[in-house]
Amino acid sequence: MVESTQALSMKRTREPRSNRNLRHLIPMVIVAVAFVALWELIVQLHIWERYLFPGPDDVARSLLDIWNRGLLLRSIAATLVRLSVGFLISLMLGAILAFLMVHFATFGKGIQPYVLGLQTFPSIAWVPLSLIWFGFSESALLFVTIIGSLFAVSVSFADALRTVPPVYLRAARNMGTDGMDLILHVTVPAALPHLISAAKVGWSFAWRSLIGAEVIFATVGLGFLVNQGKDFLNIAQVMATMIVILVMGVLVDRWVFSRTQEWASRRRGLLPSK
């Protein structure tokens, strides 16, 4: 049976990888081209002033401009550093909170409604408090990023931990596993595909919170570039940066999360093996 499965999967891998990747990108490219065409069409109708509603060519020029001035790379770097630090802290705190919620059922029941409420709480509403506590600083941006994603991370981590079939835990306890070993060697690997989905949810919350906060009060970063464009009535820069933010969202989702998710699922046969 194993041999036949392997034989099948061998056949599947014969197709060159690069070809496949390019082919599945086609629909995405078509949508992008259609979007730009529609955009250009609207611009050609001259409904709005060009400086309020720039065309694709203006935005492309602006993109080139912020790239040439080194502004774009610097902004991306600043934003990504904040995101990584903030998101990692949020993952760690979220994991602890989720574990407490699952392990101590009463505590979980008591805190769950508030955590759910805080999860839907708009992260921008934390900005005033953050500014008063931390001033116009990196810490203030990190605070918004963390607090904006922490509760989503906790809720989805807790849900992920609850998916672990009890029979795995019984089998492991039966073989003498307990305490931290049980968590690290059974609970976490058993919940891994769900934990990755949970992290994916968390990252999107962190990303939105951070960009939002940057728009309001950062002095460097992608959010800041958007806001600067507005201040100078440089709408092309606003749009160019928005496109960069969008593309980065897609890339992180595809390259970081979808890849790891696929890997984790494939390993246990939830997807056809490569």
Partner: protein, 259 residues
């Protein structure tokens, strides 16, 4: 390692949920000698699995206690290993790592682990599948891995909880002879729970018939048929007939309207 002697004393288990109480097991007294193969058969819901879980230490008894070689059991331990109905292999590990799991927990050194895993995979004839993933295995192969994972720890008591209930009939019969062979070689005290009287009569030195809920011992049959046995052995067939009779009475009795 030699099998252990077990003693179940006034063993009872009651599950309490918000408003309902269920007596799963009541006043079970059993003595199992070193190296014995004891099968436990009973209708579904008679507390068979609960009995195994109590011996495994995965659940606490409400009344009574379990002794192993004269010492009361408190909590789970690798000296009493359960083989679960659905194998309960870890899908994030390959076959080899599944079998190795308990040894790692016990802190056995690498060289020794590799040697023993190889030895037991060979014993269940799966050495070629060491690197296979759990989802690539058939039901019977999964149970072989589960057996290897249990036996590699050289437990003193092997607890089998309807391990072959989900298998097709051919695979089940094949697995029954695998278990019989392994038991003859290892001499591990074995408690084998099943709802299949044929399986119970084929494998057991003694067959314990449990009554419907709450589970109590309604009969113990001695089975002296020589091993290795097959289902067409006359004594085995006679035990199948007798256990069936007792079970039928149990089921009829439990279906009577209660006043």
């Amino acid at each position: 390692m030699k099998g252990a002697a077990l003693k179940l004393v006034m063993l009872g288990k009651r599950f309490t949920r918000k408003t309902t109480r269920t007596d799963a097991l009541r006043d079970v007294n059993l003595e199992i000698s070193e190296g014995e193969f004891l099968t436990i058969v009973g209708p579904s819901g008679c507390g068979k699995s609960t009995l195994l879980n109590l011996v495994a230490g995965l659940e606490e008894p409400t009344t009574g206690w379990v002794e192993m070689d004269g010492h009361q059991i408190r909590g789970p331990g690798a000296d009493r290993i359960v083989v679960f109905q659905d194998a309960a292999l870890f899908p994030w590990l390959d076959v080899k790592r599944n079998v190795e799991f308990g040894l790692r927990v016990a802190g056995v050194r690498r060289a020794e682990r590799i040697k023993r895993v190889g030895e037991y995979l060979k014993m269940v004839q799966l050495e070629k599948f060491a690197r296979a993933r759990v989802h690539e295995l058939s039901g019977g192969m999964k149970q072989r891995v589960a057996l290897a994972r249990a036996l590699v720890l050289r437990p003193r008591v092997l607890l089998m909880d309807e391990p072959f209930a989900a298998l097709d009939i051919q695979t089940r019969e094949e697995m029954q002879s695998v278990v019989q062979d392994l038991w003859l070689r290892s001499g591990t005290t074995t408690l084998f729970v099943t709802h299949d009287v044929r399986e119970a009569a084929l494998l057991g030195d003694r067959i314990v018939v449990l009554s419907h809920r709450p589970g109590t011992v309604s009969a113990i049959l001695e089975n002296t048929a020589p091993r290795p046995r097959t289902l067409d052995n006359p004594e085995v067939m006679e035990h199948i007939r007798r256990s069936n009779e007792i079970l039928k009475q149990e089921v009829q009795w439990s279906n009577q309207p209660k006043l």
